[in-house]
Amino acid sequence: MDLYTALSMTASFVYLAISLSLAAITSLFYPHYFSSWVFLIVILFALTPYLPGVQSGLKMKSMAVLMAICALILSSLMSLHPALYIVYLAILAGLTVLVREYEPLYAWPVFVSSLLVIVLNDLTYVADVLLAAGITLLVQLIIAIIENRRERQQYFHNYISELKQLTYDVFDCFLDPDYSHNIYIFEQRLHRQKMKCLKLASDLQVMMPSMRNHDQRTHEQAYLIFIETLYQHIQNVSILRWRVTDYTAFSLCVQELKGIVGELGLCLDHVWSRIKGNRNTFETTALTYWIGRLDDNYHNVLQVAAREPLVFALFVDGLFSLRDALNHFYGRETKA
């Protein structure tokens, strides 16, 4: 686990601890007004997903709170007649499905409202919902001041982590002899990983315009374009897996491929350090060494032994382009 994940876990723990402690203190002082359900409601509101800067935490959580209160009030009115209540539940279920399919980001508030109606279904619990709402919004308001940059950074961190995983998955296709027998499994894994990267990139792109600081925005936009370029290069390199028809060719360069993927992982870690603002050294010498070794291997062995030597030449060129992109980023960063 790297330091950033540890910090992120600590922050999440503190956030949950503050929310639950506030709920515990309030319900201890006013035991006649609030029930133990308040803890569950606090957690459900606290977990509301959001997109920092766009659908901010405060906005999404307020929406969840409002929806839950309205749904509970309506539910208590509908419970006057069982038939009405049943129809109301059915409409809520339909609404949950509709929102989930059309606007996935808003699915959670609707889901939570429906859930509270089903599980609680009593006006007496509105007090609990109000207390939970107060606590969630108060904590959100406090952390909103510091959260925006940190939240965006978490998205950058996740993006680079997923990109690293994508790189490992791509090289797994070369290194794992099972690839040719289980293409669907490997391709499914790759597809899911690509989608994760694209989703994070897309979220980051949506967040960018909301940044007020122009310099910082330009800076982070440049980072985003760079990471997307890396994603393109990794995709470009991954083409080798289906261009090669004789998979035994990979066994001739296992050592080099392992070296390259290990170094690529380290380079991506360095990129993350740079984005975080660390001025540590950033070197691609080891990566160049392993690509060079693969190039030598290509000239001495693969060119003779592989059924399609050309695709390996293109692969090596793709790796050099990836290395150049990393060097270009490093050069620009050093100048800055």
């Binding site: 994940t5 992120s8 876990m9 999440s12 949950l16 639950l20 029930s35 133990s36 359900w37 803890f39 569950l40 957690i43 606290a46 977990l47 997903p49 069982p82 049943i86 059915a90 409409i91 809520l92 279920a93 339909g94 949950t96 509709l98 989930r100 399919e101 059309y102 996935p104 699915a107 959670w108 889901f111 429906s114 089903i118 599980v119 279904n121 293409i183 669907y184 391709e187 499914q188 790759l190 597809h191 690509k194 989608m195 694209l198 989703k199 897309s202 979220d203 374009i225 370029t229 393109q232 290069h233 995709q235 470009n236 083409i239 060119q303 695709v311 030449a313 060129d317 793709g318 382009s321």
Partner: protein
């Protein structure tokens, strides 16, 4: 009437209707036949509506297992009279669930629901007051009945039309592929390379524009055994086409300094136009079940591109590495050839004969 029919063909409307039906039936059953006098029947039916379309029954079974586990564990806990322990365990569950969700943000909706399911069921049992001692069997019966209603409605009331849904998703992706190819072709004709941001946005659109457009649910574990190999084949070929287009775009950008795109833009554009035609053939077959003219020549354009660009490069594997220009040009031509092969594979895999027979 036709419009209504069309509306009821869409997955969203069908799934919404089946969810509404499930909750209506579960609500009525709970009102008249509930064993536990609690919300379990409606709750489990509601949870069954949250499954995705790839493998709904498998996901429903996983959810049932989670709910049963939570129900049994909570009842075991309730049999002990130490309230302090109850609250400690509840707090632990809250923290663990909260941490898993917060640290792994953004989570896919159905994973999100599965993670919090245990917490909700557990809390519901622990906090429900005035429950008799031996309520567990009744709760289990209600929960299983509700789940059965949810699954049955999903399967019987306007069930998912897997083939139509898959084709709908595929059509949207193919449409975007055509737009992307058109953009590349225009760029080649004008002798410029595609704007970096523009191309990245295009790639995002292809896979994410409408989060439900890309039919990736065919990758779900437990997806229909008879259909999955065919559907997954299509998706894999499309993924590879996207990869190749990405590579072509990257190479066109890198080749800018060698004026390759400027000098041979028309040739590249011609190949790209033919590719577009092939995508149109696939789209038309999926949409109208009609096959366009396939007697066209899909080889000469790519051959002529290869011959022209090969004349710029020295023959021999060792020599192409002499300068970056040679290797980039070779890579671009190879990408074009591979793209054509992939598109032809897509066309060949169309069930044209089957439809002719029908």
């Amino acid at each position: 009437m036709i419009v209504v029919k069309e509306i009821f063909k869409t997955y969203i409307v069908r799934h919404t209707c089946s969810s509404v039906a499930a909750l209506l039936i579960a609500g009525i059953m709970q009102h008249f036949f509930s064993y536990s006098n609690a919300h379990w029947m409606v709750f489990s039916a509601f949870m069954m509506c949250q499954v995705s379309r790839g493998a709904p029954i498998r996901q429903a079974l996983i959810m049932i297992a989670i709910m049963l586990l939570a129900l049994i564990m909570a009842n075991i806990l309730m049999s002990q009279d130490h309230f302090f322990v109850h609250y400690i365990i509840l707090s632990l569950i809250y923290f663990m669930t909260g941490m898993v969700v917060l640290v792994n943000r953004p989570l896919i909706y159905r994973y999100f629901v599965a993670i919090i399911l245990f917490m909700i069921v557990f809390t519901s049992v622990v906090l429900q007051q005035g429950m008799p001692n031996n309520i567990l069997p009744n709760q289990l019966i209600d929960l299983i009945l509700g789940s059965f209603i949810g699954i049955a409605c999903g399967v019987m009331v306007l069930p998912i039309r897997v083939i139509d849904d898959f084709y709908d998703g595929l059509l949207q992706v193919l449409k975007l592929l055509r737009i992307y190819m058109q953009q590349l072709s225009d760029c080649y004709k004008e002798g410029r390379s595609l704007n970096k941001e523009q191309s990245l946005q295009m790639m995002h659109k292809m896979m994410l524009a409408k989060s439900n457009a890309y039919p990736e649910w065919v990758y779900d574990v437990g997806f229909n055994r008879l259909l999955r190999s065919g559907f997954r084949y299509y998706l894999i070929v499309i993924d590879r086409i996207i990869e190749i287009l990405n590579s072509i775009e990257l190479l066109s950008y890198e080749c800018k300094e060698y004026e390759l795109v400027t000098d041979y833009g028309l040739l590249l554009a011609e190949v790209m136009d033919q590719n577009q035609y092939l995508v149109a053939v696939v789209s038309e077959f999926i949409e109208l079940k009609k096959v366009s003219d396939l007697s066209q020549d899909f080889v000469s354009d790519i051959n002529s591109l290869e011959l022209t660009l090969q004349s710029l490069i020295p023959a021999g594997l060792d020599l192409i590495e002499l300068t970056p220009q040679f290797i980039k040009t070779t890579a671009l031509v190879r990408d074009m050839r591979d793209l054509r092969d992939l598109l032809l594979k897509l066309v060949v895999a169309l069930p044209i004969e089957h439809h002719k027979k029908v």
